[in-house]
């Protein structure tokens, strides 16, 4: 909670800071301090919240990612919201009672709404409204679930009780369904297709890369014991949801020509992979698998969207043709994008591969061999569209229409941080094993 306090103070203070340059530097400094505090396990106890080794690791990764993100943001409101986002993320990751979880989840949602509300045109507006409506819908569902859960006489201020039945069980499942909206699990995914592709790419990166991953980890931390205790009922539901989510995401991505849209489909597919952690909850590798995947995903997804944002000068709306011959125009950007896309595709030596590998191994370990095979084939299929994007950078000659602009130096610095993260967690895998929730 120590990182929380300093982040919270900085978030409030950030409104008073009008100089963008100073705000940027100060935010990065605050993220750095939070990193240091978390690294040294410096704690301030707070009721309803507790931390653990893997939460700490993920928080440190989160601070690095947010620091790098701030480097490539250029609007006051976005940086402010990044600080708030960090605050709420720390809250939701460390919460262990249902009430603290729900409240921090709402805080996170509201921050995302504020982030996208800074819109410049109709397209971004429609994306933001779609997200807002579905978000409110999810909140309503979660509240309904909580109400059912309370109805059965359970307490909000304790850990989720594992032995539930009747209304309690129904309530928790309804809460999960509400959360699945945020996690873009099919069939609760449709808002994401619109929103991720329509809002400004940098914000889409923050929403799909950072917020979603944080909520995923927090949900796992909160609900894994419940799923584990009721595995007979939940396993078949979760297997079905996971397989449908990844397959639909990958299939739709193949037939799309707009880059942001491909990435939002791929984001749905990744939600499917991450859901496997719930499927394999019986395995001791499930935790490290999800943690690994989350760390990998937060690096690669955020990085790709942020770079696309800069390449399109904040406008987005990039088609594959616009990226033709990118390698001739901008050798470094093309390389950054290529490596991160390959990481998303699950090519070895990159974090994306290790994330998927450990997660799939957890599934094998839990004796779902055909689910594992199906997942692996799905992931192999996804190489088709990632390689197809990369093809435009290197195999095609320069496009005359100048939609893609050159990128400034701080962006390269921020992308290098993402790249180092992707490579580090791809090779030095042992950092993640042995941490637990």
């Amino acid at each position: 909670m120590s990182a929380f306090s300093i982040l919270f103070v900085m978030s409030l203070f950030s409104f008073a800071l009008h100089n963008l340059k100073i705000l940027k530097r100060l935010s990065i400094l605050v993220f750095g301090i939070s990193f240091g505090l978390t690294l040294n396990h410096y704690q301030i106890p707070l009721m309803g919240f507790e931390t653990s080794s893997s939460v700490e690791l993920f928080e440190m990764v989160l601070f690095v990612v947010l620091g790098a993100t701030v480097l490539s943001l250029d609007e006051h409101i976005a940086i402010t919201q990044t600080l708030f986002l960090a605050t709420a993320s720390v809250l939701i990751l460390e919460s262990f009672t249902l009430v603290s979880f729900v409240i921090s989840f709402e805080a996170l949602s509201i921050i995302s709404f504020v982030l996208v509300s800074y819109m410049k045109n109709d397209k971004e507006a429609s994306g933001a409204i779609g997200m807002f409506i579905s978000g409110s819908f999810a909140t309503a569902i979660i509240m309904l679930g909580v109400a059912f859960y309370l109805l059965d006489g359970h307490s909000l201020t304790q850990k989720i009780s594992v032995n539930v039945d009747g209304f309690g069980m129904l309530g928790l499942w309804i809460v999960l369904v509400g959360l699945f909206y945020k996690l873009t699990i099919v069939p609760m995914h449709s808002w994401a297709l619109d929103s991720y592709a329509k809002v400004r790419p940098a914000y889409a990166g923050i929403l799909s890369g950072i917020v979603k991953t944080v909520v995923f980890l927090a949900t796992f931390k909160m609900f894994a014991p419940f799923i584990d205790a009721n595995f007979a009922i939940s396993s078949s539901i979760l297997v079905t949801l996971a397989l449908i989510t990844m397959t639909l995401g990958n299939f739709l991505a193949i037939f799309t020509k707009k880059v942001e849209q491909i990435l939002s489909y791929s984001s749905i597919a990744h939600a499917g992979y991450m859901l496997l952690a719930f499927v394999s909850v019986k395995s001791s590798y499930a935790q490290s698998g999800l943690l690994y995947m989350a760390i990998a995903y937060i690096f690669m997804q955020t990085s790709v969207f942020l770079l696309l944002d800069k390449l399109s000068n904040g406008k987005g709306n990039l088609y594959l043709e616009d990226l033709k011959g990118l390698a001739q125009k901008d050798k470094l950007s093309a390389l950054f994008l290529t490596i991160q896309l390959f990481s998303l595709a699950g090519i070895p030596l990159l974090a994306g591969f290790m994330g998927k590998a450990v997660l799939v191994y957890a599934v094998v370990d839990a004796n779902f061999i055909f689910v594992a095979l199906f997942t692996l084939l799905n992931s192999a299929l996804s190489v088709g569209y990632y390689a197809w994007i990369v093809k435009h950078f290197y195999f095609d000659t320069k496009n005359n229409e100048e939609k893609v602009v050159t990128v400034s130096k701080p962006i390269y610095v921020s992308q290098t941080i993402f790249l180092v993260g992707t490579l580090y967690f791809g090779m030095f895998a042992f950092n993640v094993f042995g941490f637990s929730f």
Binding site: K331, I347, P348, V364, I369, L377, F395
Partner: protein
């Protein structure tokens, strides 16, 4: 010296070559020197090898949790592959002497060398898989950027097809890890597996694609045809060998009991590949595609030899693998060169090239004769030993593979008749067939090797036989 550098230095060097060597001219010298260094290293490793078992070369990242530790160990089989690979890399560099965009091209080549060394050197299955997949990346770019008209389709098909196959391998490795508790392939042999049959089939499918065996071969004609000629050499000489090596190492030597049970599948697919690809080559009028099918046909032969599960069989398989690398490479290089000069892939546009380019044609004819298995070439020794070991294991009926030799002779001789001899076509008469000296030198080395080991195969067999002598305890026919 730390042998980990053989694997990781290329990854850094390739970045250096890509970003720093602005002047094209340096890149090729750097890569040539580096590959010569690799050859020296591989030979020196070979010299130090113990008679049996593995030699420890280095370890990196000891992680007990997921057994994620890169352990480099080599035995005779893998060191032979290392030497073969480094020789081919040198020859490929020479053949690419006048390639465009050299800094990017050679940086990919160097990256590839690191990955392929990792494949042959790591005994940790997870790292083996990592390197196995890493070889795809440079190949994807090499085919996609420097290839001919259909390069984009071919490169993505190649990438996707082989990547999907790799997923079967990964699943098999995961099952092995779950059931034996280790990724170390030297330890797995001793552990009792729960589902060895499933693992065997997963591995078999995965490696059959890379080798490639019918019906998993369809990526190959596209990739080989569209790739630039030197890259076709890499594909045929190194990548297919990687498949065959893994087939021997994992499907046969690691799971011998299942191999004994299901070797007939390998035999059947080998025979089908041999004949099917042979007839396809006969039918083909596209020069490079003809060579590609002939390549599949030869790998069918290798599969038959492996399926005998005998000492003779494995030795002859390894000999044929090396022979195939040296015979098919000049054919690819010259076919690519003809296309580059004449602008046509089809045999109908060629004819009478002998009159314009006698030396080049002579090498093409010689390599062609090697491919059909004429005595005094490596091809003959390979085919003969495979036939003999096959007869020993299966009886006289295996003589049907001689049929393939007849088909082989037909398509090679017919191709020679249409491309090299005959009346000079209009296209050929207008074309200038001057080849750079360096590239011609590379072709001469190929020819030299085919001839030397064709006449004096004992030299090579002495090395090869030792590779399998430690596996004599394989049981069965051994």
């Amino acid at each position: 010296m730390n042998y980990l550098a053989l694997v990781f230095a290329p990854l850094f060097l390739s970045g250096f070559v890509y970003f720093v060597t602005k002047k094209n001219f340096f890149a090729k010298y750097i890569s040539l020197l580096f590959f010569i260094f690799l050859l020296f290293q591989s030979v020196s490793i070979y010299m130090q090898l113990p008679n049996e078992g593995y030699m420890f070369l280095g370890e990196f990242l000891k992680v007990p949790a997921f057994d994620f530790s890169l352990k480099l160990e080599v035995d005779r089989l893998s060191t032979i592959m290392l030497v073969l690979t480094s020789i081919l890399l040198i020859l490929v560099t020479l053949s690419s002497w006048s390639m465009e965009k050299q800094s990017a091209y050679f940086s990919l080549l160097i990256f590839f060398s690191g990955a392929i060394f990792g494949v042959f050197m790591s005994t940790n299955l997870l790292w083996f898989f990592i390197f196995w997949e890493l070889t795809l990346i440079p190949m994807y770019f090499l085919v996609g950027i420097w290839g001919s008209e259909g390069r984009v389709y071919a490169s993505i098909k190649f990438f996707l097809y082989t990547h999907v196959a790799s997923m079967f391998i990964l699943l098999a490795f995961f099952l092995l890890f779950k059931q034996s508790g280790t990724f170390d392939m030297t330890l797995i042999k001793e552990s009792v597996l729960v589902t060895p049959v499933l693992i065997w089939w997963l591995l078999f499918i995965g490696f059959a694609v890379k080798m490639p065996l019918f019906p998993f071969h369809t990526w190959l004609p596209d990739a080989h045809v569209q790739a630039p000629a030197p890259v076709s050499v890499l594909l045929a000489g190194v990548l297919l060998k990687m498949g065959a090596y893994a087939m021997i190492r994992f499907v046969i030597l690691m799971l011998p009991q299942q191999a004994h049970k299901y070797a007939f599948v390998l035999l059947a697919l080998g025979i089908v590949s041999l004949l099917y690809a042979g007839f396809m080559a006969l039918y083909e009028t596209h020069l490079k595609k003809m060579v590609a099918y002939s390549s599949i046909s030869h790998m069918g032969l290798v599969a038959i030899a492996i399926s005998t599960l005998s000492y003779d069989g494995l030795s002859s398989a390894l000999f044929e693998m090396i022979a195939h690398a040296f015979i098919i490479s000049p054919l690819f290089l010259i076919a690519g060169f003809f296309h580059h000069k004449t602008g046509s892939w089809y045999m109908k546009d060629m004819g009478g090239i002998m009159q314009k380019a006698p030396y080049l044609s002579a090498i093409f004819v010689f390599a062609g004769l090697g491919a059909l298995g004429l005595p005094a070439t490596m091809g003959f020794v390979g085919e003969l030993t495979i036939l003999l070991s096959g007869m020993k294991a299966y009886g006289a009926w295996i003589g049907v593979i001689v049929l393939s030799s007849i088909v082989g002779s037909s398509y090679i001789i017919w191709t020679l008749r249409r491309v090299i001899y005959g009346q000079m076509s209009d296209v050929v008469s207008k074309t200038d067939f001057t080849m750079s000296r360096v590239e011609f030198f590379a072709l001469l080395i190929f020819t030299f090797v085919i001839l030397v080991f064709g006449v004096y195969p004992q030299a090579l067999f002495e090395v090869i036989n030792k590779a399998f002598s430690s596996y004599v305890s394989l049981g069965g026919a051994l």
